[in-house]
Point group: C2
């Protein structure tokens, strides 16, 4: 080893010891008689001291070293006169007696500090320098720790990690595949997996009963902010289980991770049906860190002459604690907010339950104070609270009210990054109707099992069928989802028919899975958790990019290696491909 210790481990108990450290120069201060260098490695920072009087040549040499030079320094650990209690190594310094420059460095294009002065593009291009910064280093260490703990937990429950192939087959259903031309099979292509879904089901047919994999997946989608063309998921499947077994096993995983990695002991996860989540929060991923559950006023608000409410499918609102004194300006801001095109409400009605017990509303004209009091009662509001009400078509109103609720949560500081409120959303609809194509689509995927008691509706009312499908939601973020699968080939055929697949299409795309189902498929189900998202949440961030070592930008480009790029004509010829422009 070129070092005896790391830059993060020396303390006063090492005083007097001769040590060798190696690392990067974080900064250097020349005080005339003394030169101080902060030496950095992955583990911390240690102060090196060069004394002009006793070691003039060495000190001269040290003075010339620039930021990010790589050096090896040998010397004695000494007590600092000027201790720094903020650093683990702040009690000591190294009186350097020997110095070797292992490498020089050009001046970095941005500062290697916790808060860098580099812009996004620059930091992506020089990712190796950005990764030297503490926050990113800690993010990747967190990621490693979470992957280790995930594997330990699942291994302890007899799960086997089984690697599934990356060169698979393109299936037009769902998102767009990345394809890989095959040189040995002219004119044919592999596809990169969007998920190992069919392979994990095949593994259940093969009898592996508890499978997991922390695995890269690929989607060639137009990238929205914070989507990556390649991403990592914790992919799992179990046989001979019920939905309840899966929920318990994987909330167990989440609890294990919170406990081991963050020292947080979570309660059992509450379960909420999709219908309840939509009715009470207007979202299938409610943020339970705060209240403001929806209250519906449709029945009592209609028929009083206020046209907007009278014509509404749904009148519903939330009660914001202690906001009755919101100013005109604040209320206008909220109205502007809900009227933004992406939210789409036509307007906002408020009811102020004043501290003096009086009630004031933007619809005073139509509703007497007495009536408004019945509303505040419905909300269980207290004097000082502000009730915000939207109305219109049911689903649109719920969606808009969800956005308003989250906005109020943000304004009131109720969405604390260090508080974690998980839940399971269950009983999702099996199908979604698409008005444009006039057909049903699988809400989850075509292998999701309907609830046995709803199978009778397959002919009569497919839209009302509930699925044995579930999402794990934490703090309003969908961390993962899964379902109990169809293991009966007849039911699977009915499902494909319902989704408008011809037998031939179904056979062509999923034939190998349907063939496998001929040979004794066990009851099974599973889940996939978004690992990038989960790590980012543990790190207290909404953005996954800083939790991936080498992410791509929004155009799918790796700025550091400048990829994708052109390939040679020889490569194209070998693949029998021509580019058409």
């Amino acid at each position: 080893m070129l070092r005896t210790h790391t830059c993060g481990e020396l303390t006063s108990k090492h005083i007097g010891k001769e040590v060798t450290l190696a690392g990067w120069i974080q900064k250097s201060r020349d005080l005339g008689g003394m030169t101080f260098i902060d030496l950095r490695d992955r583990y911390g920072i240690t102060q090196l001291v060069f004394n002009m009087e006793s070691q003039s040549a060495l000190c001269e040499q040290a003075r010339k070293l620039g930021r990010e030079f790589v050096i090896q320094a040998t010397g004695k650990v000494a007590e600092r006169s000027n201790k720094n209690p903020k650093m683990p190594t702040g009690d000591i310094e190294i009186l350097v007696g020997k110095l070797e420059v292992l490498n020089s460095s050009a001046t970095p294009p941005f500062t290697i500090e916790d808060n860098s002065d580099g812009g996004d593009e620059l930091r992506m291009k020089y990712r190796y320098l950005d990764l030297r910064r503490n926050p990113l280093r800690q993010n990747l260490a967190l990621r490693h720790r979470m992957a280790m703990e995930t594997r330990k937990y699942l291994d302890s429950l007899n799960f086997l990690e089984i690697e599934t192939p990356f060169l698979i087959k393109s299936t037009p259903e769902g998102a767009r595949d990345f394809v890989v031309p095959s040189r040995m099979n002219e004119g044919q292509f592999y596809a990169l997996p969007q998920s190992p879904q069919t392979f994990k089901q095949i593994l259940m047919v093969a009898g592996f009963d508890r499978y997991f994999q922390i695995v890269r997946c690929f989607r060639d989608e137009d990238l929205r902010a914070d989507r990556q063309p390649e991403f990592t998921q914790i992919d799992c499947e179990m046989s001979f289980i019920t939905q309840e077994d899966i929920l318990n096993t994987f909330e167990g995983l989440a609890r294990h991770l919170f406990s081991k990695v963050k020292g947080i002991e979570l309660d059992n996860f509450p379960r909420m049906t999709f219908d309840d989540a939509m009715k009470n929060y207007g979202s299938d991923k409610p943020d339970l860190r705060f209240g403001m559950k929806f209250v519906e006023l449709t029945d009592i608000a209609r028929g009083k002459g206020f046209g907007v409410f009278d014509d509404a499918d749904l009148v519903a609102g939330i009660s914001a604690e202690s906001c009755a004194e919101y100013s005109r300006k604040q209320l206008d801001e909220l109205t502007e907010f809900v009227k933004k095109p992406q939210i789409g409400a036509k307007g906002l009605v408020y009811v102020k339950y004043n501290n003096d017990g009086s009630v004031k509303s933007s619809v005073d004209k139509f509703y007497r104070e007495e009536i408004l009091k019945t509303w505040t009662d419905k909300f269980n509001a207290k004097p000082g609270d502000l009730i915000l009400i939207l109305a219109g078509e049911k689903n649109k109103t719920r969606k808009a009210l969800n956005e308003l609720r989250l906005e109020m949560g943000n304004r009131l500081g109720l969405r604390k990054p260090d508080v974690f409120k998980p839940l399971w959303v269950i009983d999702f609809p099996l199908l979604e109707w698409n008005e444009e194509t006039r057909r049903y689509y699988a809400m989850h995927h075509p292998f999701t099992s309907p609830k046995p008691e709803d199978i009778v509706k397959m002919k009569t009312d497919p839209g009302a069928i509930r699925a044995n499908a579930y999402d794990m939601v934490i703090n309003g973020v969908e961390i993962g989802g899964g379902s109990i699968r169809i293991h009966n080939k007849e039911l699977q055929k009915q499902m494909f028919a319902l989704l408008g697949f011809t037998d031939e299409e179904a056979q062509n795309q999923f034939g190998f899975l349907m063939n496998a189902f001929e040979y004794g498929a066990p009851p099974h189900g599973g889940i996939a958790l978004g690992f990038d998202r989960l790590v980012a949440m543990f790190g207290g961030s909404d953005s996954i990019r800083d939790y991936i070592a080498f992410p791509k930008n929004n155009a799918g480009r790796d700025m550091m290696i400048d990829s994708p790029s052109e390939i040679s004509q020889e490569q194209l010829d070998e693949l029998k491909l021509r580019i058409t422009k």
Copy 2:
């Protein structure tokens, strides 16, 4: 759970207990009054009993169940009258009181037994049935266990597992890349990584100091037997280390795996230079499970009038213990063996050191018994031993003698699958001269560091430069290899020049790595171990295919999912590609 226990865990201590099992019907025997079913899951086999007298309806139902049906059975654990000591559950059986058929099965196309009657192609097509067989199930469980233990060991040494990207950039040097057309960047392609080599070096520049990854890699090569287009490696890199640190760390990993997974405690790994390996074994991956070290006779065998030896660059042989009584036929077989085109020797000379102390040779005409005795002395041969000698050009002769040595090892049963003899081969040449293209190629890769003391030869005698490169070899198989890297950008430039890269080519292909080296690259080095090969070796097999869940055949096809396959014209249009035939 649809079961209370697995099919592998019930023993006499459970007798009297009511249990529920679920699994596949391995076989069923109808003895009139009783029907026995062997129920199988991942954990074992348990015998179910149906009694015609007490449960006639149930028994009738059980009789109709075919092989590989999936059932759930509830009943009491009872002591078997006819115990089977070969099975962990052989002391008990289940007196079934309740039976549910979870799924039926078509008749499998081959038997699900340890030794199946299915051919290779058939078993690949129905991989999910093949994977139900014990040997394959155990192989994948072994693979999981080895991956877990690898991670535990490296984690305990502060290595971080960091995921590197799969969509990277094509580099023409080396093997052929698989490429991935980018829809969002017209006419441009990503490439799938042949290894994360440059990324792990970038991570060292980024200060991560101890990196590993169990990672899929891709090579679009014409597949020789037992090569896969996608394969898995344990990829590692360390900073601030010497070669010795890497050897110690990773023989530590191998020892940890042997200890934890196989209960075998290995000694420290011997180190052998490339030159010694070639001289003594004719191979850079010698199998040390047995002796037969080469002995060179060039000096004492030449000049006695035997033209073959007189003209030879090298005369060398091996001594096979107790083989002096080999028959004419056996010796002819060996002669045929060495004359095969892929071995390429012109002939074989033998010297029998008979049990009576006399010496008999195929070259008696040229060498008196007295002379031949000096040969047997050189071999330290004992009466009863057989000496086999080849002669010719040095490298060719060594290569052929290596093959002969391995063949003799096989014939004498000296290559035992349960004996493990590891070593490090070190001091590889830096460069290989290619006579056809008349240029040097990097023996390892262009980032490998020459030995500091050999750098002076870069101008004068490049072929003689030794590299800080090393291979881990076990039982004659190269398990992995690595090197100390060049971290100095000037040396890296010289290296590229030596390999015939123009500055532009080097910049184009490896520019981002060379740019990174401008900003303080630490001294670093690493290794990559072939995980498929390592697992197969632990499993006692030469073939990796049975240690991969879903392998491809020799044409690179996945027989189960029938991939690669054609994609739609729409997909091609989106990618701006046309297939030329």
